[in-house]
């Protein structure tokens, strides 16, 4: 907690009287007998203090605080009397917890009130869930402590401009997301025209609360944005809520909202296989003694579909997220990096997931960069898509200068999104940038939303 925040909060004490009174009287809080009991007890104390008050008043009259409100008359915005000098803190009553230091780690131990966190018995989905959904990707902040999901569900839903998330419930075979628009208008889901993307995350035990808190601290929890008119690399997903339920971690990400009308997004069928019991109940079985998490094959497979944080404030530099020997997932303040030794090629294949979808090319295609390999995948089936495209055309994509004509040329039968996976070899000056990671070449993956 920095000093500026406290000072700013103190300065907020001068809030307009009307707002203070309005808030003081707001709502219909149920009467709780406890405050009345406390008040009754306080009256007893006050009665006792009243007898001592004259003794206190006499010497104090000559020592009235210089910051008294204006005595000239009524004040519209009353300035409250300044506080007295700091009293000595109450002595500990032998309580071992009294000396706790106020810091974010300690604060995190308090119940998380800013994000919905629900705990329940672990549960495995009973059946394969087949949904029709749009594949859409964007950006979101991610906690460095959580690896991306084992599975994901695209759930058709109905989104209305200005809708607010009201509730989320998870059952064995469906997820119900309830939205409200205005207080009196609730819209249920089940509309295939929209999609809610819910990631199942392989929560590290006990991390849900911290993750939720980190998300909260990162000031997430948006609602629907304004128009994003193109297919391009805009922020078109917003993280709404993070919570844990039925033993699974959930992260609710809302899809893009195109226009003020309820535009229909293209979608396709998707079959989702539920988590298996082993991963659901003990996702980190076989954890290495060194503390790194084992990256299972399917975890890595799904990883490229993850969207990543934007901005430079979300990660700690050099923060190691996990991985097995030779496969280290960590961040460098720009995004996730996963290094995969490739003896055949003679260098580490590094998967770098850049902070913002669509800008993945930006730090890649620099001067002296050469794309050694390009693979384009369907992000759902991971089937390879043949991509016949030149370096210049790829650079154009990076710059966002892709015409509709080129879209058709590149992607043909557009299926929503593709995953581009490249191995980039850097030479020259930019190679030095990666010396720290012993990277000569690296993968660059991104998800390209190719329009509708």
């Amino acid at each position: 907690m920095n000093d500026k925040t406290i000072k700013t909060s103190e300065a907020l004490t001068d809030m307009d009287d009307a707002l203070v009174s309005e808030a003081a009287n707001a709502g219909k809080m149920k009467k709780n007998p406890l405050p009345w009991l406390i008040s009754a007890a306080a009256l007893v104390l006050i009665a006792g203090a009243a007898t001592a008050l004259p003794k206190l008043l006499a010497p104090k009259k000559a020592d009235i605080d210089a910051n008294l409100p204006d005595p000239a008359g009524y004040t519209e915005t009353t300035e409250a009397p300044a506080p007295t000098e700091a009293p000595a803190p109450s002595e500990a009553n032998g309580d071992a917890e009294v000396a706790a230091t106020l810091d974010p780690a300690m604060a995190a131990a308090e119940p998380i009130e800013t994000m919905p966190v629900v705990y329940a018995e672990p549960k495995v989905f009973d059946s394969v869930v087949t949904l029709s959904a749009e594949v859409n990707c964007g950006e979101h902040n991610d906690s460095a402590d959580v690896l991306s999901g084992l599975d994901m569900i695209y759930m058709p839903t109905r989104v209305i401009y200005g809708a607010e998330l009201e509730d989320i419930t998870v059952e064995s075979d469906k997820v119900t997301v309830t939205y409200g628009i205005d207080k009196d208008y609730i819209v249920e889901e089940e509309d295939p025209n929209r999609v809610v993307l819910i990631w199942f995350r392989n929560w590290q035990k006990g991390s849900a609360e911290e993750f939720a808190r980190s998300i909260s601290d990162s000031n997430f929890g948006f609602f629907f944005h304004e128009v994003f008119g193109t297919w391009s690399f805009q922020s078109n997903l917003e993280q709404i809520a993070v919570w844990e339920e039925n033993g699974y971690g959930f992260e609710l990400i809302m899809p893009a909202y195109y226009g003020e009308d309820e535009d229909v997004l293209r979608y396709k069928d998707l079959t989702v296989v539920p988590l298996d019991e082993a991963s659901a109940h003990d996702p980190y079985e076989g954890l290495e003694d060194d503390g790194y998490l084992q990256l299972k094959e399917h975890e890595f497979t799904y990883a490229p579909r993850t969207t990543f944080a934007y901005g430079t404030t979300c990660y700690e530099p050099e923060q190691v997220l996990g991985g097995s020997e030779g496969r280290m997932l960590h961040t460098d303040g720009l995004g996730f990096i996963e290094s995969i030794p490739d003896e055949e090629k003679g260098y580490d294949r590094i998967m770098r997931y850049f902070p913002q979808v669509g800008r993945l090319f930006e730090p890649v295609l620099r001067e002296n960069a050469e794309i050694a390999e390009i693979d384009v995948y369907d992000p759902i089936t991971l089937e390879t898509i043949k991509l016949d495209i030149s370096m210049d055309e790829l650079r154009d994509i990076a710059d966002g200068n892709v015409s509709a004509q080129m879209q058709d040329y590149i992607f043909g039968d557009c299926r929503g999104c593709v995953l581009v996976d490249m191995i980039v070899v850097h030479t020259g000056d930019y190679a030095a940038e990666f010396d720290e990671y012993e990277i000569d070449a690296y993968h660059c993956g991104f998800i390209l939303n190719c329009g509708y």
Binding site: N2, E10, A49, T75, P89, A99, P104, E110, E113
Partner: protein
């Protein structure tokens, strides 16, 4: 007893004014103080200080809105104690303050007192323009330091809705402060 009657008692230096203050504003003051401070003893000391301040300052002060006056006195007093002792204890106000901090990140150095005042006024202006429910929820959180649970109970809404309203408001506040150039470098989100 209404504000005028209490003020009249204070002006007469009638000691029953303190009882009247406690009956009228005791719950409010205790709520604010206990939302900021942890130790019930500190809370009671704080409330006693508030009552003493009201006794001391009225007259000559003659606040038009005694509710706001008492609430501000309580907030002032409690925050002062929070600041004095925050290094040693966990305080209930920590979470709401950290939420506020997330809105202010990048807003300049703590040594710029004038900027702090201006920032606070900008926040006040922002709050005043919020829709009623959103304003009420946000005020209860950042000004009164209510818990999400208490806010939900007060407004008769779910805790999830409270979280949602608060998150949205923080984000809107940050955008506003960025637009007004209190926050440099743009929205890091």
């Amino acid at each position: 007893m209404n504000d005028s009657e209490i003020i009249a008692l204070l002006e007469k230096r009638d000691e029953s004014a303190v009882e009247a203050i406690d009956a009228r504003f005791g719950g409010l003051c205790r709520s604010i103080c206990s939302n900021i401070l942890n130790d019930p003893r500190d809370v009671e000391e704080c409330v006693s200080s508030v009552y003493f301040k009201l006794w001391s300052c009225i007259p000559p002060a003659k606040p038009r809105d005694l509710t706001a006056y008492a609430a501000k006195a309580a907030r002032n007093e409690a925050l002062m104690r929070y600041r004095a002792d925050s290094s040693k204890r966990k305080f209930a106000a920590s979470v709401p303050l950290e939420e506020l901090e997330s809105c202010l990140a990048g807003s300049g150095g703590a040594e710029e007192e004038l900027e702090t005042e201006e920032l606070a006024h900008a926040i006040m202006g922002f709050v005043s323009r919020l829709p009623a429910e959103q304003r009420g929820v946000f005020m209860r959180r950042i000004w009164f330091f209510d818990s999400v649970k208490d806010i939900a109970a007060r407004f008769g809404i779910t805790e999830k809705r409270v979280n949602v309203l608060l998150a949205r408001t923080r984000r809107e506040l940050r955008r506003y402060l960025t637009k007004e150039e209190f926050i440099k470098g743009g929205d890091h989100l």
